[in-house]
């Protein structure tokens, strides 16, 4: 069996990662993180906001992804992510602001606030901050 698999990460704006031979990947599945090695059984899962890491050529890369979707095949992994950012691309100040805003909304007791959305926003902001710290 091959010891790498092909990894692709696609976002609406561009193809972030194209044809990378990765040795392993960790993806933030909606029901928990998944570790993927070459030869994984075919699988389809939704992704939640979180850090996605993969190892290619011995170096480990980390990306922050928001909502997404992944297809895993034995020799290929394709990830559709609504946003994917490398640590150096993350605007920490903006993430901090978004976090503060989401927290405020959650605490506000305002009936107009959509709590699910505020919670999602909070999670996204927290992921960004965490991933940005890893560069």
């Amino acid at each position: 069996m091959a010891d790498t698999f092909q990894l692709e990460i696609v976002t609406p704006q561009k193809q972030m990662v194209k044809d990378v031979a990765a040795e392993e990947a960790q993806i933030p599945g909606a029901d928990g993180y998944l570790g993927i090695l070459p030869g994984h059984a075919p699988l389809i899962t939704e992704l939640k906001a979180g850090a996605l890491t993969y190892r290619a050529g011995g170096t480990t890369h980390t990306l922050s992804v928001a909502w997404g979707f992944a297809e895993v095949l034995p020799e290929k992994v394709t990830i559709l992510a609504e946003t994917a950012e490398r640590p150096q691309e993350i605007d920490v100040a903006r993430a901090e602001k978004a976090k503060a805003r989401a927290e405020e909304r959650l605490k506000s007791n305002n009936p107009d606030v959509d709590y699910d959305r505020a919670e999602d926003a909070l999670e996204r902001a927290e992921t960004r901050i965490k991933v940005a710290a890893e560069k």
Binding site: Q15, P42, L43, I44, E46, W67, E71, L73, T78, L80
Partner: protein, 361 residues
């Protein structure tokens, strides 16, 4: 007799104008190229999403087995009482008839739905200005910031400002189309449709396949009739003359006029999530389907925006090409007039000298 100095001044001013229009044309051509690349880069994602949805339809029961009604609210058709119309125009002018043509179709569309209440959301300053002059604003009106911050959808209890009202104005989002904004807008639209505040969503924009293949369309976004198919309810083709001028401008600016070749990209995308294997579904297909469907709407809006931006640059490029040509023509005829005036002056002087000499001799 025309003054030579005046004509010279006039020529100099037209030459300056021509320089500006020429520069604007070059800039638009470069921006058009970038917009086309961006549209191409966005293609795999939308194609893959469409493919996943199509394959999920086969696996999940999205229709009620007894009544045949679709189980997902975004697929449900109901009588149209309230319509949402999203209008995409440009933020800036000097793009020939680009904005005017779109706004003409807006009026036509609104006239074609005399029974329904229409909420209008404008993306682009030109559309907003036009709508503001004609229709009242809704009690709550959102901006890009509201949408991004996740403001609650418009309350339906508030009295309507009129049969046609403006519920959203998004200005300044076209320069660099941010997917986060579009995603938030899509989510908002989906929410309102699911709440039954609105019964149908239409999006009006300038479709842009290539310089020669563009038209104005009204796309029936919600409810979804068939995934992966654009559901056009009104289309206005570009006139032959407009097309000819666009081709002319594209040629001189070095922009390709054929549609970009997307076959390789589409083929790769078609393989996504459709392999002939038994997938393990981490979540039940039905759940995946209902999570993915709203994203599909965002992608559609994003797609419309990208095409509209490309079309705007193409229109500006064409308009500036015409302006440059007109300026050149004007310079030619002014130069001719100036030469004539100069010649007339010289002839007159010679006659004066000759007749002066004749009088003395």
């Amino acid at each position: 007799m025309p003054n030579i100095l005046d004509i010279r001044r006039r020529i100099r001013s037209v030459v300056n104008t021509r320089q500006i229009t020429k520069a604007m044309k070059t800039v638009s051509a470069a921006k058009l190229r970038r917009a086309q690349e961006a549209a191409l880069a966005a293609r795999p994602y939308s194609q893959m999403l469409t493919n996943v949805l199509k394959s999920l339809i086969k696996r999940a029961n999205i229709y009620d087995p007894v009544t045949g009604e679709p189980l997902h609210p975004l697929l449900a058709e109901r009588p149209e009482k309230n319509i949402l119309l999203i209008v995409i125009t440009g933020d800036k002018g000097l793009a020939g008839a680009f904005n005017t043509n779109i706004l003409k179709v807006v009026s036509k569309f609104i006239a074609s739905k005399p029974e329904q209440d229409i909420d209008v959301e404008c993306i682009g300053r030109k559309g907003r200005d036009f709508m503001r002059r004609r229709f009242p604003a809704a009690p709550t009106r959102r901006t890009p910031e509201d949408i991004q911050a996740g403001a609650a959808p418009v309350q339906s209890e508030a009295p309507r400002a009129g049969r046609v009202q403006i519920t959203g104005e998004y200005v300044g989002v076209l320069g660099k189309v941010d997917y986060n904004f579009v995603a938030a807008l899509g989510q908002d639209v989906v929410q309102r449709f699911a709440d039954e505040t609105i019964d149908g969503v239409y999006i009006l924009y300038n479709e842009f396949k290539s310089v020669i293949a563009q038209r104005l369309v009204v796309d029936h976004l919600l409810p979804i009739k068939e995934i992966g198919e654009v559901n056009i309810s009104l289309a206005e083709e570009a006139t032959e003359e407009e097309r000819k001028r666009a081709v002319e401008a594209a040629k001189t600016a070095g922009v390709g006029i054929r549609p970009v070749d997307t076959r390789a990209v589409d083929e790769a995308a078609a393989k996504f999530a459709t392999a002939e294997v038994d997938y393990i579904y981490e979540q039940p297909p039905v759940q995946l389907f209902s999570e993915l469907l709203p994203k599909y709407i965002s992608v559609e809006i994003f797609h419309a925006l990208m095409e509209s931006v490309a079309a705007e640059h193409a229109a500006r490029m064409t308009a500036m090409d015409s302006a440059t040509n007109n300026a050149s023509d004007m310079i030619d005829s002014l130069t001719l007039a100036m030469n004539r005036a100069r010649q007339a002056k010289i002839t007159k002087e010679i006659i004066e000298i000759v007749s002066g000499a004749a009088a003395q001799g």
